[in-house]
């Protein structure tokens, strides 16, 4: 069985291979040499199991995700369906994309995020590299940092991470995409959307100069 390295990610290597005759992606987490072995084992094992569970949960919530074909926790391995398409990150490298296309793309991302959040799932790494456009369908991949929560903070961090991936990698088109995103996200999530989007503003003001832990509450008002 031939395997080609598709991508060397931050914590895992992604290979393209075949599984029971199907084109499949093999996601293998790497042991990190800089981590204490106990911590490394714990982090990798927990994330492998949780990732597979959350991919399934996302599917139930109506988000397009790759199907999990095999889960092998001791080897930190997940085998999943290969999605034909282009990452949003690569898509946005093209010059002069029509505004309408960008807005529609933003709306699709907003719908995906809203469905996840409505089901009490946060993605944890909602960047343009983890969104794949396959025909008309937008797939969400890499649930390695995802979790279950209805906490406004966790949902807000998702949006904050997404917004910053737009600003830092695609500063020119980020505004239009985020416009479309907000429109649909707010509509789909309903009352809580306003709370989440307000929290995003709040999160962006944090992380600066907090001279005393005890005072930190006053920085979050």
């Amino acid at each position: 069985m031939g395997m080609t390295l598709l991508k060397r990610g931050a914590e895992s290597d992604i290979y393209l291979g075949s599984f029971m005759g199907m084109k499949a992606v093999f996601k293998k987490r790497r042991a990190k040499r800089y981590r204490l072995p106990e911590l490394d084992e714990r982090v990798n094992r927990e994330r492998t199991i949780s990732e597979a569970r959350l991919i399934y949960a996302a599917l139930i919530s109506g988000v397009s995700v790759p199907a999990v074909l095999l889960l092998d926790p001791p080897n930190y391995l997940i085998v999943m369906e290969y999605i034909e398409g282009t990452t949003v990150k690569d898509l946005l490298q093209a010059e002069n994309l029509p505004v309408e296309f960008l807005r529609e793309l933003g709306k699709k991302i907003g719908e995906t995020a809203a469905r996840l959040h409505t089901s009490g799932i946060y993605h944890g790494d909602l960047t343009t590299s983890n969104l794949i456009l396959s025909g008309e369908d937008l797939f969400l991949v890499d649930f390695g940092l995802a979790g279950r929560s209805n906490d406004i903070e966790d949902l807000g961090v998702d949006i904050h991470v997404f917004l910053r991936s737009l600003e830092s990698v695609h500063p020119k088109v980020g505004g239009v995409i985020y416009g479309g995103f907000k429109e649909v996200y707010a509509r789909e999530l309903g009352d809580r959307a306003k709370e989440v989007l307000n929290r995003v503003k709040d999160i962006r003001r944090r992380g600066r100069y907090v001279e005393e832990r005890r005072n930190s509450a006053s920085h979050r008002k």
């Binding site: 800089y34 830092s168 990698v169 003001r205 992380g207 832990r213």
Partner: protein
């Protein structure tokens, strides 16, 4: 062009003098406020800085062998930092600018850390880790801004370690012979304890880790808690860095800020960068902590493009993000 730079954002009052040709840095003098107990109280630190300021300015000029008349501009860090402390530096800078008729250059403290790091290590287009008592930022330059790829969602890494060692009675002093108390304490650690490991995207959260570690001290050996806390905190930082590396595909990492001096962090970074085949540059200790030379140098870059600050505009900004600054230089 010769620029005098004043640093006064936190516990250090520093004055550096730089020029626009080698050896660039002519002098770099600083005095650091060390509390007898507890942490930094802004009023106390401000009084300390106000007392040492004239002496530090004089010493920096003498060491550089230049008179104030030869200086072309006065640079000062206007933020981010503690308000009362920032205002001491700003007041000294305005006074010098007025008395000697020199133009003023307001500098962002974080930009100072980054630019001095680039000057000294020769790093060209790095992924930047800016880690200090008040900041935990992963950044890189995109166009004319330092864009932020990852940062702490609550308290800074250095702040978290400082608060921990203080709460358990190891500090002050926070640093002994160039080593942070947490590193000294961790040397005796054997057992690894489960502590919350929180990375979200490229962002980190340290406040839950701090609370959990403090709680663990009740039932565990302190050395074990120190070791576990440091390992988890640094590993979070490294993982977030790896994520930013994957996202930006940079081939160099530059580490700046006070925590850059940590030996255990450097060891981890060396292993990680070896794995990725990227170059690692760590700013040397003298320029890692807050200092005047970094403010002078960032001021020089700004002044070389004619970007001066009117006295009436020289207000301090306690929460001035690095990504708000437009970079006029290459």
């Amino acid at each position: 062009m010769i620029v005098l730079g004043i640093e006064s954002t936190a516990h250090t009052f520093g004055v550096g003098i730089v020029k626009d040709s080698p050896p660039y840095i002519l002098s770099n003098i600083r005095r650091t406020f060390i509390p007898k107990e507890g942490g930094m109280r802004p009023g106390e630190v401000a009084r300390h800085h106000a007392e040492v300021a004239p002496g530090v300015v004089r010493e920096a000029l003498e060491k550089a062998g230049v008179s104030i008349r030869q200086v072309d501009a006065i640079a000062v860090s206007l933020g981010p930092g503690l308000g009362p402390v920032l205002r001491i530096g700003a007041t000294v800078a305005r006074a010098l600018a007025l008395k000697y008729a020199k133009p003023l250059v307001g500098v962002n403290h974080g930009i100072g850390h980054i630019e001095i790091g680039r000057l000294i290590t020769g790093s060209r287009d790095p992924l930047i880790l800016y880690i200090s008592g008040g900041n935990t930022v992963i950044s890189t330059r995109v166009g004319n801004r330092y864009r932020i790829f990852g940062e702490t969602l609550d308290i800074a890494l250095g702040n978290m370690m400082d608060v921990f060692v203080r709460e358990v009675g190891l500090a002050p002093p926070y640093v002994v012979n160039g080593k942070h108390q947490i590193d000294l304490c961790a040397e005796g650690g054997k057992k690894f304890l489960n502590l919350p490991y929180v990375v979200k995207g490229q962002d980190m959260s340290f406040s839950g880790l701090l609370s959990a570690a403090l709680r663990e001290t009740k039932n565990n050996d302190l050395h074990d808690v120190c070791l576990s806390l440091r390992e988890v905190a640094f590993d979070m930082m490294l993982e977030a860095t790896e994520r930013a590396l994957a996202l930006t595909s940079k081939s160099e990492i530059l580490v700046v800020g006070g925590v850059a001096a940590s030996g255990s962090l450097k060891e981890k970074l060396e292993e990680m960068t070896l794995d990725w085949g990227v170059k690692l540059s760590v700013v040397p200790q003298e320029f890692a902590g807050d200092n005047g030379a970094m403010i002078a140098y960032a001021g020089l870059l700004q002044a070389s493009k004619g970007a001066y600050t009117e006295l009436s505009e020289s207000k301090v900004r306690q929460r001035w993000r690095i990504d708000e600054v437009e970079l006029l230089w290459e």
